[in-house]
């Protein structure tokens, strides 16, 4: 419950920030970071939910003809999957950096696909190609900073799920660990 409220509250604040920045002509997809954070910290189901929630809000407020934001946010939720196991064990930095870079890369590949398939995207083809390294680098840099910032806030407002033990992340119900299967050998006594 606490996680859900924290998740939605953060998403709404970030969405307001993204819309206000976008209004000044700064296309900074902050909602991607939120999706990535909650997807890696809680579960990919949370990520998918947030991707649809934030995506629908962004596409609605801009009255877009195609669900552009929903598309890249869903891809972000999917891209955060590799970061999750390490994040749950508290060894997050490298995997978070990789996830951020992958999300940045995916965003511009998606933008490129949209540019080719659907006309109307303001960025030109070469803008998108030129921004690809920037997006990858930006994602890799912004992601750990955002994760650290969110963990600090969680600590401050005492939401134990996010900062304390990633091992208890799925929080309310910690899952039992499975033992690795042994290879069956001939003549083994059952």
């Amino acid at each position: 419950m606490t996680a859900g409220i924290f998740e939605l509250f953060t998403a709404l604040i970030v969405l307001i920030g993204e819309v206000l920045l976008g209004n000044c002509g700064i296309p900074l997809p902050l909602s991607m970071l939120v999706v990535l954070y909650f997807s890696a910290t809680l579960s990919y189901r949370h990520g998918l939910f947030l991707a649809i929630f934030c995506g629908m809000i962004l596409d609605s407020v801009y009255a877009r003809e195609l669900p552009f934001a929903t598309g890249y946010l869903l891809l972000t939720a999917a891209a955060s999957r590799p970061a999750q196991p390490e994040r749950l064990q508290g060894e997050a930095l490298l995997s978070v950096v990789i996830s951020g870079a992958v999300s940045g890369g995916l965003f511009f590949i998606y933008a490129l696909a949209v540019k080719i398939a659907v006309p109307g995207l303001t960025m030109s083809f070469w803008d998108i190609v030129g921004f690809l390294p920037l997006a990858v680098f930006g994602g890799a840099l912004l992601c750990p900073i955002f994760f650290w910032f969110m963990d600090c806030i969680a600590k401050r407002i005492d939401v134990p799920i996010f900062y304390a033990a990633p091992a208890v992340t799925a929080v309310e119900r910690p899952r039992p660990r499975r033992l690795p299967r042994r290879k069956a050998s001939w003549g083994a006594v059952k």
Partner: protein, 282 residues
């Protein structure tokens, strides 16, 4: 190993499926959601506008007295020119109305001009559409023309209102490939359509097609609205024809010309617009 692979592919597969679903039903949901979400964001956008205005006013203080005086003088000069033009137009209007009465023609449609401010821009589709702070309560209706003023005081077509709520209106610009409008060459009855054909808009240029073949050079001609669309006033400037397909009608069976129109509207500086609403459309 197979299970491990599934772990990574499952979210991706779900994401793709959801994406397809949203692409297919998104249009239905978005029209309703737009009203609710618009209401949620409205105070924040207004707040941004309120912060912007004093900042812009303060920036005037950076100018010296001499510069300000020069600006005031220039504006007074422009105002005098407008006053003269207005007086001339008023005379012509009265004459036109009198002639219409004598010829027993219906009166020409009157237009209400509503000034609006751009409150929301899409950073990824910057030139494609925007939102203004005027809605149905101000008399704005879908289909109304949205205009900007050229430095010489002549109106320029920016776009068309596509949807309205009580306090805001979504505008589709002339650079949006979805907006197809008829246009004619200034002073001629040669008609074409913008955003039609196979070319795509980009870099301040609007593609056009189906312009009736003519043996005259069309590049450099002014493109204007035709008035065929009932809610868009006629003779509003769209831009200047930059290029057209080089076809010699004497040696070709082509019936139409295609090309590009360059619009003088600078979307980066666009802050205030005029919405022309036909008086009998309310």
């Amino acid at each position: 190993m197979a299970k491990q692979t599934n772990k990574y592919w499952l979210p991706a597969a779900i994401a793709v499926l959801l994406l397809l679903l949203i692409f297919s039903i998104g249009g239905l949901v978005r029209s309703g959601a737009n009203r609710i979400v618009g209401r949620f964001f409205h105070p924040y956008l207004e707040l941004q506008r309120l912060v912007d205005a004093p900042l812009t006013d303060q920036s005037l203080l950076s100018l010296s007295r001499a510069e300000l005086a020069q600006k005031v003088e220039t504006l007074q000069k422009i105002n005098r020119q407008f006053a003269l033009q207005y007086a001339q137009n008023e005379k012509l209007l009265q004459e036109n109305q009198q002639l219409r009465r004598l010829a027993k023609l219906p009166p020409s449609p009157a237009w209400n001009c509503i000034t609006g401010e751009v409150i929301l821009r899409d950073p990824f589709f910057w030139n494609g559409h925007f939102t203004v702070n005027r809605g149905t309560q101000d008399g704005v209706t879908p289909g109304a023309a949205v205009l900007d003023m050229a430095p010489e005081g002549k109106p320029l077509l920016v776009g068309v209102v596509i949807s309205t709520t009580e306090d805001r209106a979504e505008v589709q610009t002339i650079f949006n490939p979805e907006l197809r409008l008829s246009f004619k060459l200034h002073g001629q009855n040669i008609v074409g359509f913008i955003n039609s054909g196979e070319q795509r808009a980009g870099n301040g240029k609007i593609p056009f097609d189906y312009l009736t073949m003519t043996d005259r050079e069309v590049a450099g001609e002014v493109a204007e609205t035709t008035g065929f669309e009932q809610l868009i006033p006629p003779n509003i400037r769209i831009g200047v024809i930059k290029s057209a397909s080089a076809i010699d009608p004497r040696f070709s069976s082509e019936l139409y010309l295609a090309g590009e129109i360059s619009s003088p509207v600078d979307f980066n500086l666009l802050k205030f617009v005029i919405i022309a609403v036909r008086q009998d459309s309310r």
